[in-house]
């Protein structure tokens, strides 16, 4: 309530916008359910969608050379992972936004403006952290997509979710690879790879 009153009393529109975004993110963060990357069903969903995406990759024979095919598979794997996060996390939104940006840049041959918001720098808790800790936090922020300028607690949360998602990605893709490598005995009774 107090924040609403102070919101209305604000004269500067920019401050109002900042608070709006704050409120949005707070509400969003507090109310959204989290993805349980560890569950089998999530992994199955991911594997299925990844296979669908890979089928589209394969249909394009011009992606015959190794580099672009690797790129396409990596991007498909990341895209499907990010979509499964359902927009709840910053890293997933950042992955999708950057892929979109790349595609548009390639199609239109010019750079598109940044899609994600928060281009203003956020104030980090400078007093609190030693330089070593700050340095490591900065390293981490470069590894988690879209988290270069988020607050430290935010960064830790995003990293937590991101790691769980990556682990699932690895599990799913490993299983997929093993399947494609050729099951030693075809349990389903029909021939697959010979």
């Amino acid at each position: 309530m107090a924040s609403l009153i102070s919101y209305l009393n604000l004269e500067e529109e920019s401050k109002r916008k900042k608070l709006w975004k704050t409120g949005y993110e707070l509400r969003d963060r507090n109310s959204r359910p989290e993805t349980s990357w560890r569950s089998e069903s999530e992994q199955r969903i991911y594997s299925t969608k990844l296979v669908d995406a890979l089928r589209l990759v394969r249909r394009n024979p011009s992606a015959a050379d190794m580099v672009s095919s690797f790129r396409e598979i990596r991007e498909a794997a990341d895209r499907v992972l990010a979509v499964e996060a359902k927009g709840r996390t910053r890293w997933s939104r950042a992955i999708l936004a950057s892929q979109l940006r790349l595609r548009l840049a390639n199609n239109m041959k010019h750079k598109r403006a940044k899609v994600t918001g928060c281009s203003r720098p956020k104030r980090l808790e400078k007093k609190r952290f030693s330089p070593t800790l700050q340095r490591k936090a900065r390293l981490l922020s470069r590894l988690v997509p879209g988290c270069r300028k988020v607050s430290f607690p935010n960064l830790l949360e995003e990293a937590t979710d991101y790691i769980a998602a990556l682990e699932m990605q690895v599990r799913a893709m490993t299983a997929l690879t093993e399947l494609v490598t050729g099951p030693p005995v075809d349990r389903l009774g029909s021939t697959s790879n010979s």
């Binding site: 900042k18 890979l54 990759v57 490591k136 997929l176 399947l179 697959s192």
Partner: protein
């Protein structure tokens, strides 16, 4: 999530301090995820170590995904598309 948590970038209004306790909480959650630290379990791991190991772990996961993408791109290039993917889908559905 705790409702008393607020954003440090909030310009006006309520207190915006993120407590040490909340940070320690998040750090310990992160700690649980990282196999390096989880396996060599000593209760006091510095935040700096957790951050370092987190970075290393994420990098290694990235490398694994790259490696798997590479292998998949090789495999899909050389195997017969339809039967391979049919087999995948069948086994996924039958689980």
């Amino acid at each position: 999530m705790s409702s008393r948590r607020s954003r440090s970038r909030q310009q006006t209004g309520a207190s915006r301090n993120i407590t040490d306790e909340q940070i320690a909480d998040l750090v310990s959650k992160l700690q649980q995820l990282i196999p390096e630290i989880r396996n060599r379990r000593s209760d006091t791991v510095s935040a700096s170590k957790v951050l370092q190991e987190t970075c290393n772990y994420i990098r290694s996961l990235h490398r694994e995904v790259d490696d798997l993408s590479d292998r998949l791109s090789d495999l899909l290039a050389t195997t017969d598309t339809d039967s391979a993917q049919a087999a995948i889908i069948r086994s996924l559905l039958s689980q």
